[in-house]
């Protein structure tokens, strides 16, 4: 597959595909990219699977010659749109990296204010700033793959890249976090008196927050066919308000499509 490098690495006799990859960021904290860099014991192995040609957080060189673009962040400005479209044109595969890119992330909370100018003035004062409503990558361009999480889980990114290199399919869990949480032998957060979105949030984080005794905020978005009606009943039954539930469901934007679609009426929640 890889004709660029004669005598390239092989896996079980089959030459490895070593894609040229680029990392980009829009409105975000760049924490997802940091995640990719931050597990140093596997970093070199990870980098040997790909040829990084663009990674502002890690290197100076830049190139427009890449096959896979990992894009972090949401889209809030007109020049963002232009830049994203250019990335889409250059890349064979565009990967939305993290919850901001997938759902708008924490940034999309500002969309919930009726008056965006109020938000701008609150945050930036009278300083003029070009920042509009938050949009996901998918609202602008075609997205081929989404890696959920705030931040993304390094192990999951590694696995995805590895699977691209060796030609294995990429599968995400469809079930909720509870399954992983029980597997990790945690005491249920509700039992400890904490609210948690584990029962409706897509697994794959290996119950990162509940492992640390913090209830889930749904950063990976909904599991397939989440039972939000029951989730609401449970929250109320356990003594938490609707606001507590809404705060969590709205926090990363992953559940907003479900609310908009009318699967769950926002007012009902």
């Amino acid at each position: 597959m890889d004709e660029r490098e004669p005598g390239a690495r092989t896996y079980l006799g089959v030459p490895l595909y070593r894609p040229k990859v680029a990392f980009f960021e829009f409105t975000s904290c760049e924490g997802c990219q940091l995640q990719v860099l931050n597990k140093e014991d596997t970093l070199l192995d990870f980098l040997s699977l790909v040829e990084v040609v663009n990674f502002r957080e890690a290197m100076t060189e830049q190139s427009d010659d890449y096959e896979i673009a990992f894009v972090e962040g949401s889209i809030t400005r007109d020049d963002d749109v232009k830049r994203l479209k250019k990335i889409r044109k250059n890349a064979k595969v565009l990967v939305a990296l993290g919850s901001c890119a997938c759902f708008g992330g924490v940034n999309q909370l500002k969309n919930r204010f009726k008056d965006l100018n109020f938000v701008k003035t609150e945050v930036y004062g009278r300083h003029p700033i070009d920042s509009g409503p938050v949009r996901t990558l998918e609202e602008i361009v075609k997205v081929d793959l989404k890696i959920y999480g705030c931040p993304v889980k390094k192990e999951e990114v590694e696995k995805i890249v590895l699977h691209i290199a060796i030609g294995k399919s990429i599968v995400f869990p469809k079930y909720p976090v509870c399954m992983e949480c029980k597997r990790n032998e945690n005491i249920c957060l509700f039992e400890l008196g904490e609210p948690c979105l584990g029962p409706v949030t897509r697994a794959g984080c290996d119950s990162w927050c509940p492992d640390n005794r913090a209830g889930c905020w749904g950063c990976r978005g909904p599991a397939d066919d989440p039972n939000l009606d029951q989730m609401k009943k449970i929250m109320l039954e356990k003594g938490f308000s609707e606001e507590t539930l809404l705060d969590r469901l709205e926090c990363f934007g992953g559940f907003s499509s479900l609310m908009k679609k009318g699967n769950v009426n926002e007012k009902d929640l």
């Binding site: 690495r9 092989t10 896996y11 079980l12 006799g13 490895l16 596997t42 192995d45 990870f46 699977l49 590694e158 696995k159 590895l162 060796i166 294995k168 869990p173 469809k174 079930y175 909720p176 509870c178 399954m179 029980k182 597997r183 032998e185 005491i187 249920c188 509700f190 039992e191 400890l192 008196g193 584990g198 029962p199 409706v200 599991a223 397939d224 066919d225 039972n227 009606d229 029951q230 989730m231 009943k233 449970i234």
Partner: protein
């Protein structure tokens, strides 16, 4: 059967004998819930004082010690174009389960039927099961326990020794010579007539403490008759499809196998991961078709496996009535209620 009786302080000495050369697992307090009630868990113990002999019930069963949630079935070393496979049954020394309640012993007996005595035994389970020593202990029935309805409130076999608290002293049943030999390390006595009477009184008292129950009469047939019942949809609407019931169940053994390659490409693994039939992708097959896309059908089939399929195959239910699933279910779905509702729907 051999019976013995011993003074309470002797149990600590017995524990010391166990722990000297074996891995010992018992119930410990893992934390406190919002009402400041203890939450119990099975855990490795080296200190006798850590063990809570009077534990009510653990949140999770002892399953992970013989059916881990995640278990490496094989590892592969990859060198150039070749690979070598290494298999370990993941046990390095005998395990003593100290203070297992009858429901959990019966759960092991049921698992044995599938994983040990079937046509294709599972070696990973068998290796652990064969190197297991079980000290059973009588429990205090909890409001959610319906083991009496499932015939699993007492254990007749599947343990090495079984201890009953007679108040001042312990009464012990001995089933294996290993247990007999262990007991030679402490002071035991032949039980007298009055000990037998006291034992029977204790048993009688415990029997009266069970409150929850399930009518299992003709349940296999009723489940068949009510296969299309709308009652399943009622429970399906509540179900979160989160798999918690299977995770906390002492007899759920369904699993998936995942193959992973190490990031340095020098190794690979085959990992068995316990799954749950309530999860949305449980019945999804290659090509993406899902045989049970609705929550209610998945929930129904879980009940069918426990209370119908297994009964047909082994003349007993796969449920031991420990009540863990109902206690852990955030949606409050309990076995007695589900079965009762199916039964009631049939009468209408």
């Amino acid at each position: 059967m051999i019976f013995r009786i011993f003074e309470k302080e002797e149990l600590k000495k017995l524990f010391e004998v166990f722990v000297a050369h074996n891995r010992v697992v018992g119930a410990v307090e893992a934390g406190r819930d919002r009402d400041d009630q203890p939450v119990y868990a099975f855990s490795d113990v080296s200190d006798y004082n850590e063990i809570k002999l009077d534990y009510s019930i653990t949140k999770l069963p002892a399953k992970r010690f013989f059916l881990p949630f995640k278990e490496e079935l094989a590892t592969f070393r990859i060198e150039n174009d070749n690979w070598t496979k290494d298999i370990s049954y993941n046990i390095d020394r005998p395990l003593i389960l100290f203070g297992l309640h009858p429901c959990d012993i019966n759960a092991l007996n049921k698992l044995d039927k599938v994983l040990l005595h079937s046509v294709y035994p599972m070696p990973y389970y068998a290796a652990k099961r064969k190197n297991m020593f079980i000290v059973g202990m009588n429990c205090v029935p909890q409001p959610s326990c319906f083991c009496r309805s499932m015939g699993t409130d007492t254990a007749l076999h599947g343990f090495d020794m079984f201890i009953t608290d007679l108040g001042g002293r312990y009464f012990v049943e001995i089933l294996t010579n290993t247990a007999f030999n262990f007991l030679r390390h402490i002071r035991t006595m032949e039980p007298m007539e009055e000990d037998h009477i006291l034992y029977m009184k204790v048993v009688e008292k415990r029997k009266k403490e069970f409150t929850a129950q399930v009518d299992t009469t003709d349940l296999t047939k009723i489940l068949d008759m009510e296969f299309q019942s709308d009652v399943w949809k009622y429970w399906g609407d509540r179900c979160l499809a989160c798999g918690t019931c299977a995770s906390v169940c002492p007899t759920c053994y369904c699993y998936g196998v995942e193959e992973t390659v190490d990031i340095n490409l020098k190794g690979a693994k085959k990992t068995k991961i316990l799954h749950s039939c309530n999860l949305i992708d449980f019945a999804e097959v290659a090509g993406g078709h899902n045989f049970r896309p609705e929550r209610h059908s998945r929930l129904k089939y879980r009940y069918y496996h426990k209370h119908r399929g297994f009964v047909e195959a082994f003349e007993e239910s796969l449920c031991v009535g420990c009540g863990r699933c109902g206690e852990s279910c955030l949606a409050g779905i309990t076995v007695p209620e589900v079965i009762e509702s199916i039964r009631a729907d049939g009468k209408e």
